[in-house]
Symmetry: C2
Subunit: 280 residues, 2 copies
């Protein structure tokens, strides 16, 4: 079954939640809200929020409990893409086959739209009803996406230049991509009021899936790890990380079947031939 | 008495809190943390966090309860300056007499340092012990600084160009500057567990002080309102707003004496001659 079919109900809830929390493009400043919506509704896979919902169910919670944390994770991801694409950073004109936010709306608006999305992510976390839960979610998401997390990884990537070695690539992969994916899973568990016995395997699972995700992305792009490792080694690395992730959540039993499915979809995504550049 | 003397103890606590929450510039990525610290420790007046602490005391709370919210407000302010100074926005080379963050660290690092400061602001709010309080503070600060608040004001300022009229100037002033100043006061009250009978006058006070602050800034810079109003009219407007602010918090009694002092310091700041450009 295709990812989009298997997660149809999740994806519908995620779109509806994002639609609800993002100010309409008729609300002033209209152009800003248009730019924010452009960045969010541009055909992403919604990998992070799907993970949050699956993690919530695997922790014994209901999907409804995790919708705001899921949307928050996607908003953080969206803002990071808008800022990463900027001329001063990756200077990309296209993303997923369409113009990047700054190409469509100008650089100033893209910077501010990114700022708006990041701020909205935290505002949306605050919509969760239970204060203690908000506090836990806030700590997890802000740490993962902050200067010692995702932003730190982006800086390391910028600074690394050509002197890449494996420890540096691991640092970049774990921080730039892994931390937010790990937080997406952990936030799902927190939304379900999970205890330590669930949070520990969930953290492990999220970390491993995050590293596998980056490895597969590098295989697609001929980037990152492919500069130091052979494609076959990388395919094996990705498979091994995913197998470890699946083992990590075994203790959660049948409730975790959607997390197992996510891992299986990742295995299917591993490209058979390397350097196949496709629109993500 | 000088502002720095009168608020000496507040300022000391604010610096210590910012020092504590900002990762040291020895923590990787070092250059990122150096840039974040450069932006925060560059000689600002700390007007917003001083307001938060004074509002907390005026609401019957202790200074210690409001230190994290105060630091969070200052971090939001700091990030907004870093991003506003960028070449794509105001393109400023100097701030407070020293190089702006992007001039000192490069544009990419300034964008990411701003992102890091914004994320840290919300992380720091999450350090407040009580979950219900965190939720209330998060709603207040994120709404005030988001796309319908401060960022919205910045976009309106960018878009306004030469067709400025008074309603547009009010919109810019209220959103770009006023909302965060209002939130700084309200967060102080929330930190003290204030009820509606305190939150209402505090909100009013914060809004009025925010508008007075922007009016005075425009008089200093020969910008904004000075394009449509005479200096004398603006000085009267600032004095009137401050007088209204002082009346608004009369019901709080003697506890609000530091809020009264803030209002008096603002009156002293009103320039006697217009177009006096000084380093802020």
């Amino acid at each position: 079954m295709k990812y989009e079919t298997y997660f149809k109900s999740y994806l519908k809830s995620i779109e509806a939640t994002l639609e609800k929390v993002l100010p309409g493009d008729g609300i002033p400043p209209c152009r800003l809200h248009e730019a924010m919506r452009y960045a969010v509704f541009s055909g992403g896979k919604r990998f992070r929020p799907v993970l949050t919902l699956a993690a919530c169910e695997a922790s014994g919670g209901k999907v409804e409990q995790a919708l705001y944390p899921a949307a928050a994770a996607e908003l953080v991801h969206s803002y990071s893409l808008v800022h990463d694409d900027l001329p001063a950073l990756d200077n990309d004109d296209l993303r997923r086959g369409v113009l990047t936010c700054h190409k469509q709306f100008g650089e100033a608006m893209a910077i501010l739209a990114g700022d708006g999305l990041l701020t909205l992510a935290f505002q949306v976390l605050g919509l969760v009803a239970d204060g203690a839960k908000v506090r836990a979610l806030l700590a997890e998401l802000s740490t993962a996406s902050g200067s010692c997390g995702m932003i730190g990884g982006q800086v390391a990537d910028l600074e690394a230049g050509k002197d890449l070695d494996l420890p540096m690539l691991d640092y970049i992969s774990i921080h730039k991509t892994g931390k937010l994916i790990k937080a997406s899973a952990v936030c799902g568990a927190l939304a379900a009021n999970a205890g330590k016995e669930v949070l520990q395997p969930m953290t492990k699972y999220g970390e491993l899936v995050g590293m596998a995700f980056q490895t597969i992305d590098d295989l697609f792009d001929g980037d990152g790890y492919t500069k130091l490792m052979k494609p076959k080694e990388l395919r094996d690395q990705a498979r091994d990380l995913i197998a470890q992730a699946m083992r990590a959540i075994k203790p959660l039993g049948r409730k975790a079947q959607k997390l197992q499915a996510i891992a299986e979809f990742l295995i299917e995504r591993i490209p058979r031939n390397h350097h196949v550049t496709v629109a993500r």
